[in-house]
Amino acid sequence: MINQNINVALIGNPNVGKTSVFNQLTGLNQQVGNYPGITVEKKIGFCKLPNNVKANILDLPGTYSLNASSIDENVVIELLLNKNDKLYPDVALVVTDVENLKRNLLLFTQIKDLEIPTILVINMADRMEHKGISLDIPYLEEHLKTKIALVSSRKGFGIDALKKLIVTYKTISSEPCLNASVIDPDYFDSLRKAFPGQLLYKLWLVITQDVNFLNLERKEIHSSFTKSHSDLKRLQQKETIKRYQFINDTLKVGLKVDATVAKDFRSKLDRVLTHKVWGYVIFFAILFIIFQSIFEWSKIPMDFIDSSFASLSSWANENLPSGVLTNLISQGIIPGIGGILIFIPQIAFLFLFISILEESGYMSRVVFLMDKIMRKFGLSGKSVVPLISGTACAIPAIMATRNIENWKERLITILVTPFTTCSARLPVYAIIIALVIPDQYVLGIFNLQGLTLMLLYLLGFGMAIFSAYVLNKVMKIKGKTFFVVEMPNYKLPMFKNVAINVVEKTKAFVFGAGKIILAISIILWFLASYGPGKNFKNADQIIQSKAENKALPALELENKIASYKLENSYIGIMGKAIEPAISPLGYDWKIGIAIISSFAAREVFVGTLATIYSVGGTDNEDTIKNKMAAEINPETGNKIFNFASGVSLLLFYAFALQCASTLAITKKETNSWKWPVGQLIFMSGFAYLLALLAYQILK
């Protein structure tokens, strides 16, 4: 970070379009990370402003007020109170929604009272005419003691004016909106006398908020000015009332709404989308379309990537000088990279749809809709967010449970979230479904493969709900909770936001999972290409002596040698050792190795098989899919990936806790090994039993 850059903090309630403003200001100049020690996402972008001023734009987590009730909100307060923080803002942009100005201004007045130069950004201004809203900007600027930028982050207007305004931040008044003394004059007077150099509202936040303050003697303040919890709550309520009185007085003149102009499209749509019957029908129809599309649209690019890497692999094998490195490249590295890139289309489509649902405002309706069901199973309405975000990855989903106040509901949500189908399962499902489920249409329109994928997602979600119900009955922890959800306005998704989200998520897969898949592919190549003992070293002589009496074609002899070598390689010996445990499920030792290695990350499964089949393969088959389809069980003569073993594998991956990081995060969040170990034993044991049953019934 460059010192001469100014720091601009973007602050606002959730769903006011803060991230859209951030994207408009920064474009793709963004870095995404976490705040130290916690897992709240931290986004910083860079922006060139007029007069050659450069700005670091910090997109802070959405918060309703400075009375923090979650870790996200703590982050905002800690930054705004710590002048020593290198990201401490020179200017704060409080982003508001023109349709929810009254509620959004509460946070604005609080930030203003910290005497930070603050610009009021009124977003979604393009909807003003449609909603019959008019604003008296000069009046509002005068009474709120600020500068106002009217913007539409969706349409991109007002952004240049906002940039110009940011540059003039030094001229913006830092006078507070509310004199903190009005909350309790006697108490605040004594505070002022005791800490003459400190800002009164800041002291008040130190007393009332449970956050880390670096430059204030918290103990000293608390020992002298402690009040009972109920007294503090009463004063906080008084503060909120005073602020709303101020906001009401200001908006009475500054904001006019002509109700005759406003069209009530939103409430009509809400009535349908959250309807007790139609709401669910629409939700499942949308899910259905999504999974059909993921399969249909991904087919062509996936086949292209698969065949391109197969050609590259054989080209490398034929054209590079023969030797160990060439083998590593053609049998380990190229299939490994191919095993990563092949899933980009499906992952991109999945996140494209999720982003569109979030951006349009529909996701909040789903949360509201599902809350009614969740309650019956001992979960909170807030559990829906982790369960839905679990379709991306269980790790952030488990972290997202932190805003569930009730410990029992939170614990249950943590324990059942890994059942939801994360994106890491998608590659495994995709390849197995393509192998064992016919590419046929039911009733002429429903693709069977897409239906199977949807069924697996519903199965994961259903299992999470069922487990929650059981856990709720079994656990003897009591507590009450309530559910509040923000219902943003409906809007057409912004292409830029959707695109950035898709690119970010796909990048995270390629560069996160991809590195591990590649490293494991390289190690697997070594383990499959080398082996201990005489059997491996003398494979050529052993097979040739066995085949002496038979006139085998050269290619078949070569295949037999490769297969014998693989069986006696390090990986072959390991696989054979675990084969007795997995053969009742319909798996051979090669699949066993893939299951073990995929405990690091589920996606590794396909890459592992690609590497193993490349080393011991016949070279008659080129693509990963074809190689898997051609695998024959030498004992039965049947295909390894048949309907029974395929369904068994799908069920195993649907329920097994094949993710080391999920265990680690559950331990971290529950502060005990008891829960993750229980989670592992239950999920994997259940998966094993179900996979066993499925294979034994279907074979």
Binding site: P36, K42, P321, V324, N327, C393, A424, A508, K515
Partner: protein
């Protein structure tokens, strides 16, 4: 011979990467940006 040396160096890098990833998780001591990888990969 050269091919073998390079291949084994690549193998060592892969093993080292996985050991570092799973056994020596880096601790963040400052407020600098990390990656957006959720850690499950």
């Amino acid at each position: 011979m050269v091919q073998e040396i390079i291949a084994f160096v690549i193998l060592a890098v892969a093993v080292g990467f996985l050991i570092k990833k799973y056994f020596f998780k880096k601790k963040k001591t400052d407020k600098s940006c990390g990656t957006d990888d959720c850690g499950c990969h």
